[in-house]
């Protein structure tokens, strides 16, 4: 029974790691290892590993530009969702009113639409005046805020609930106004938890494809996933497309390990009672 | 019914011995309590008997048969857990019948045994309820019933009363004792509450750091504690300990003297055999009152006789009959007879 379990774990791990291994392998493959012409099977490790593709990407301005766009969009989404979400989460955590469940429902309601359905009206709205005058980075950032905000509120609500109410009451009794209590007492305490929400938001934005694709369909300024898709439409070599994929994945995988616990909370948010 | 024998039982987790070379005989039909502070190994011992832990070394015999390698269900034991571990999705009836169903008993026998348990434990009318629709005491009884319907040779109880509120706990204590009188199954009972152990047990084993310090009837342990720990652990409020040289009747600095609060009497005038102190506060526990006296060796508690008035902040002398003193070796902590 135990042996079977560990064998199965091994099998699952193989299926998880194998595609990623292949992606990495392709990214450092030389020409002979990918263009076989059917004369020999593709090797499981390149004949002559090379970093050529990464060098090529580094020298290409459009890749770096897409990377910067992704970075800016992510940071904007983080800033917007924290500025909007943290106060709301605080209010939800502290203010007890009857109808709070309804308010929560309205907060989350926008996520009831599937992304692929919501994106049409959002694109129609943001790609027409006056919004279309804004740079695409901001448009995509706004859209990603829309996606991330409900999660930010949910995570931050948990963070504020974990801070004892006594602290605020103590500050209140000592005569501190509410605004400075929030800024000077609560915010520092909540910062680590909010940081997790920020990282979650950033990678939601980093990985997001649908909204970025629709909102930057025509322009030259796009995020990395959309850039990847555009490259794909030229039918590029396997090694080139894999090198881009590797570069998109590396930061996410690293950070997944760092903020795993909070990610788990975000993913199962509201699913388990 | 059966006797249980533990021989040199040791259970190590990593390198720490949770149970350290324990030997114990539980007699047929006896109510034996393992009592000790948390982490003393009492639960691990019980779980080893149940077959939920594999002993690192040593043997366990039930009715003379070595059961070390038997799975729990082949040991003819039943266990009641601290959390009751009732199955939340099953009704009282299904919970009671679960073990019988696993053992593939016929429907008639199942119904008969369940009915027996329901009546024995006063659960009539609750058969169709879910655990969450029951009170704490009722849940406790369902857990007991679920163990009893299997007619175990040995019933293992792991702190079964600790999740109940104080009042209910006292009532269930009495019920448990009555139940044991009626069914006469061998019971091994684990608790950290010495009062529970004193009132329930035929015999009790005091455990500390994985070892059994003393086995005996509650009376034996109370009157002749084997060492300083047993003396201090059993009895409430606990025994007072004084260094031998400070007690005029003893005058021996290699000895620790233990005196129970009820064995001390108070004199307001000087007594040569007495210990001087100053009365501090009185604590009333219903029928009994205890006076705390500040002595040069710290606070000493004394049970007050009912006719004694309020004595606070007065100098006084404490004295005890010499035969009521418990003497312990200062270095080993063992009793000196």
């Amino acid at each position: 029974m135990r042996t079977l379990k560990f064998v199965l774990i091994g099998v699952v791990l193989f299926f998880i790691v194998f595609p990623l291994f292949m992606m990495t392998k392709y990214s450092i493959s030389d020409r002979e290892s990918i263009v076989t012409g059917g004369e020999y099977p593709e090797p499981f490790f390149p004949f002559q590993p090379t970093m050529e593709m990464f060098g090529l990407l580094w020298s290409r301005g459009d890749f770096l530009k897409a990377g910067l766009t992704s970075l800016w969009v992510g940071l904007l989404a983080v800033a917007f969702s924290l500025l909007l979400g943290a106060p709301t989460a605080y209010a939800l955590a502290r203010f007890r009113i009857p109808g709070i469940a309804i308010l929560l429902f309205f907060l989350l309601s926008v996520r009831l639409f599937p992304d692929i359905s919501a994106v049409i009206p959002v694109a129609e709205l943001l790609l027409s005046r006056p919004f279309s005058l804004l740079p695409p980075v901001i448009l995509v950032g706004l859209a990603h805020t829309l996606l991330a905000l409900p999660y930010t509120v949910y995570i931050a609500k948990g963070v504020f609930e974990s801070i004892p109410r006594d602290l605020e009451e103590q500050a209140f009794v000592l005569g501190a106004p509410k605004s400075s209590t929030f800024l000077k007492i609560l915010t520092p305490l909540a910062l680590p938890g909010l940081g997790a929400a920020a990282i979650y938001t950033f990678f939601l934005s980093w990985n997001e494809f649908i909204f970025a694709y629709f909102l930057t369909f025509q322009g030259t300024e796009t995020t990395l996933p959309v850039y990847l898709l555009r490259i794909l439409s030229w039918s590029p070599q396997k090694n080139f497309i894999s090198a881009i994929s590797v570069l998109i994945c590396v930061p996410v995988i690293i950070f997944t390990f760092l903020v795993q616990r909070h990610m788990r909370e975000g993913l199962t948010a509201g699913a388990v009672k | 019914m059966a006797e249980v024998r533990l021989k040199d039982l040791t259970k190590k987790f990593k390198d720490v011995a949770a149970v350290d070379n324990v030997s114990l005989n539980v007699r047929d039909g006896e109510f034996l309590t393992l009592v000790g502070p948390s982490g003393c190994g009492k639960s691990t011992t019980l779980r080893a008997v149940a077959g939920l832990e594999n002993p690192t070394s040593g043997n366990i015999f039930i009715d003379g048969e070595r059961v070390n390698d038997l799975p729990p269900q082949k040991r003819h034991i039943s266990m009641v857990f601290q959390s009751y571990a009732l199955f939340p999705h099953m009704t009282v009836e299904s919970n009671l019948a679960f073990g019988l169903k696993i053992k593939k008993k016929g429907p008639e026998e199942k119904a008969k045994r369940v009915k027996w348990a329901v009546e024995l434990l006063g659960l009539s009318g609750f058969e169709k309820r879910l655990p969450k629709e029951l009170s704490g005491g009722q849940r406790q009884r369902v857990a007991l019933g679920r163990a009893l319907v299997l007619e175990p040779k040995v019933l293992l109880l792991d702190e079964p009363l600790s999740n109940l509120d104080a009042k209910l706990r006292l009532r269930m204590r009495t019920e448990l004792k009555r139940l044991h009188k009626k069914i006469k199954t061998t019971i091994i009972y684990v608790t950290h509450d010495q009062a529970e152990a004193m009132t329930l047990s035929d015999r009790m084993a005091v455990m500390k750091d994985g070892r059994i310090l003393q086995v005996g009837t509650p009376g034996q342990i109370y009157e002749k504690p084997a060492d300083v720990f047993c003396a201090g652990f059993i009895g409430s409020p606990p025994m007072n300990f004084l260094p031998g040289e400070k007690v005029p009747q003893v005058k021996d600095k290699n000895v620790v003297v233990g005196i129970r609060p009820e064995d001390l009497s108070i004199s307001l005038s000087r007594i040569d055999a007495g210990i001087w102190g100053r009365s501090s506060v009185t604590e009333t526990l219903g029928s009994d009152s205890y006076l705390h006296v500040d002595t040069s060796e710290g606070l000493v508690s004394v049970r007050l006789k009912s006719d004694q008035g309020i004595l606070e902040d007065k100098p006084l002398w404490l004295v005890s009959h010499k035969e009521k003193l418990h003497l312990f070796d200062k270095s080993t902590g063992r009793r000196i007879t």
Binding site: G38, P41, L92, I116, R264 | H89
Partner: protein, 294 residues
């Protein structure tokens, strides 16, 4: 007047909490106004001019996409449940290194869906790719199963199958985590109690794990069916020739430049999801009632 007293005390409470309420408003406005905008846009488009929403019912393209989406949902949902359950059961009990294994099991969700889809596309590429190499028996360690390379993207069945595979691979940590939380809410003592009463591993699973996990399982069925209905990225990359609803929306919007029709399909998708959720919720109620009284 008790009514006016109630109102005035409510006003007082509102006033004393004005600060908190003020906090609540910005995010609420942002999300709620988008909700309203999306809803209005979808409705406006769907019922504009010649009622594109109704014209869908006579469109062969829509019916085909609907059928494909239904298959995608119908196959993907139970598959993802079973895979999630397997993973959760594997790491349910603690063992040395369980934390590391769980972290590794989490990797797929971190990879962008588009990248996952592209990796699968590379692995199953035609005519020469790792999987075809394997099936053709070009590696010594694997038996030859086919004589000509398989054209995965050329077959409706195979390409949608790959899309389901990709979706399942990427989302398995989500189902796993929900089921794991469900499993961990079952106390260890309940298993031990069952064991002392003679239950074996299979009986423990049948009488304890499965019934106690039912709420989590139903949650997953609902969440997964929604996810599968609305899936876009995997079929978009792996089965572009065989659009299901999500891909059809994109095509109508970008290729055919017909936002009204695209919005109609989008609204149709919302309705389908709502209906499926209602259906599963009803099933949940029935199953729960049945399970409560074993």
């Amino acid at each position: 007047m008790p009514g006016s007293i109630r109102i005035s005390s409510l006003l007082l409470r509102l006033k004393s909490n004005l600060f908190t309420i003020g906090f609540f408003i910005p995010a609420f406005l942002y999300l709620f106004s988008f909700f309203v905008i999306i809803l209005i846009f979808l409705l406006k488009f769907s019922f504009s001019g010649n009622l594109p929403l109704l014209s869908l019912f006579s469109s062969a393209e829509f019916k085909q996409a609907l059928w494909r989406s239904l298959c995608f949902m119908g196959v993907g949902t139970p598959l993802q449940l079973v895979v999630g359950l397997l993973l959760a059961l594997l790491i349910q009990r603690s063992f040395r290194g369980v934390g590391a294994v769980r972290s590794l099991f989490m990797i797929p969700i971190a990879i962008p869906a588009l990248v996952t889809a592209i990796i699968i596309d590379l692995l199953f590429s035609y005519p020469f790719g790792p999987v075809n190499d394997l099936l053709l028996g070009r590696h010594g360690f694997f038996p030859q199963l086919v004589s000509v390379p398989v054209n995965w993207s050329g077959s409706e069945f195979l390409s949608l199958g790959l899309a389901i595979l990709g979706k399942t691979w990427r989302d398995m940590p989500i189902s796993m985590l929900i089921l794991l939380a469900g499993l961990h809410s079952i106390e260890r003592e309940q298993y031990e109690a069952a064991k002392t009463m003679g239950a074996g591993a299979w009986q423990e699973f049948k009488y304890l794990t499965l019934p106690l996990l039912t709420p989590a399982i139903l949650t997953i069925l609902i969440l997964r069916s929604i996810e599968n209905w609305k899936e876009f990225v995997f079929p978009f990359v792996l089965a572009p020739s065989y659009p299901l609803l999500g891909v059809l929306i994109e095509r109508l919007y970008h290729v055919e430049q017909n936002p009204a029709l695209a919005a109609s399909v989008a609204l149709g998708l919302v309705i389908l999801i709502a209906l499926t959720t209602l259906l599963f919720t009803a099933i949940t109620k029935v199953v729960r009632r049945y399970l409560v009284r074993v």
